[in-house]
């Protein structure tokens, strides 16, 4: 029997790794991967808590939903990345600073 807190610590580690990727990576795809890590960390939490909710199965079902959503998100994000590349000729987010005034 694996204690719940172990799952949570692993998911926290995974989340931070994803966060690091999102914050520092110079490549949009890598950032996307970081985001996936973060989603997966969340999914792991769902699943871990879902262990204690067998009857309603909320944890598992929402984990399922989250996975599907993440997949859809990836598809859209990749499409966006392609378009961004077409438009800016780069996928380095630090070079895309049109948000600056």
């Amino acid at each position: 029997m694996i204690p719940l807190s172990h799952f949570l610590i692993i998911s926290a580690c995974l989340f931070c790794i994803g966060l690091y990727a999102v914050l520092t990576k110079k490549n949009a795809i890598q950032i996307l991967i970081g985001i996936e890590f973060m989603i997966n960390a969340a999914v792991l939490n769902f699943v871990a808590f879902g262990k204690f909710d067998k009857v309603n199965g909320g944890g598992q079902l929402f984990a399922l939903f989250a996975i599907v959503l993440a997949a859809a998100g990836v598809a859209v994000a990749l499409a966006i990345i392609l378009n961004v590349y077409k438009h800016f000729k780069t996928i380095d987010p630090s070079k895309i600073n049109k948000l600056k005034d």
Binding site: C13, I33, A72, A79
Partner: protein, 177 residues
């Protein structure tokens, strides 16, 4: 330490190592393959949380869908994208430090919070220990998704369709321009 624990920690270590390597890797192709490894080990961890169907789904969707999509995305795209994806030798920058600092701070917060909270003291977790385990999770999920969670399920399906159409629209080559 029994075998179950041993396997669990092995997969956990594999997950964290591969994830770290994914983010530390400069080469995109390699990091994607390592990502593949990380996802597999994550699926393994799900099994330990009594979620076999989720684990299968994880493998099918991520490994069969997302990763393939990613690989195809830059393999099918034009040559310059690939060229620009060549690893750039960068020194250790201030922003990386900042990122590490923030991540560690978050980690510290999450872990410390995790340690502070007594999960087993929670009511619903306490009560759940009395309920008998249901083996057939797949069956249970099927019923639940068509009864209790019908609305989120339908919303999700519509959303999924929208996302796919959007992705297809974004990714297509605009002939007019």
């Amino acid at each position: 330490m029994n075998t179950e624990q041993l396997i669990f920690y092995f997969f956990a270590a594999l997950l964290l190592t591969s994830a770290l390597m994914v983010v530390a890797m400069q080469n995109l192709v390699r990091s994607i393959f390592l990502f593949f490894v990380a996802l597999f080990s994550l699926a393994a961890l799900y099994v330990f949380a009594l979620a076999d169907f989720i684990a299968i789904t994880q493998v099918v969707i991520y490994v069969g869908g997302v990763l393939v999509l990613m690989l195809f995305a830059f393999m099918l795209s034009n040559k310059e994208l690939l060229n620009s994806l060549h690893p750039i030798k960068t020194s250790f920058k201030f922003y990386q430090l900042t990122g590490i600092f923030i991540c560690l701070a978050f980690l510290f917060i999450l872990v410390s919070l995790n340690l502070q909270i007594d999960f087993s003291g929670l009511n619903w977790i306490k009560s759940s220990t009395n309920i008998k385990e249901i083996d057939n999770t797949t069956h249970n999920i099927g019923i639940l998704s068509m009864t209790r969670y019908l609305l989120p399920f339908e919303v999700l399906s519509v959303f999924l369709m929208m996302a796919l159409i959007g992705a297809a629209h974004l990714a297509r080559k605009d002939k007019k321009t």
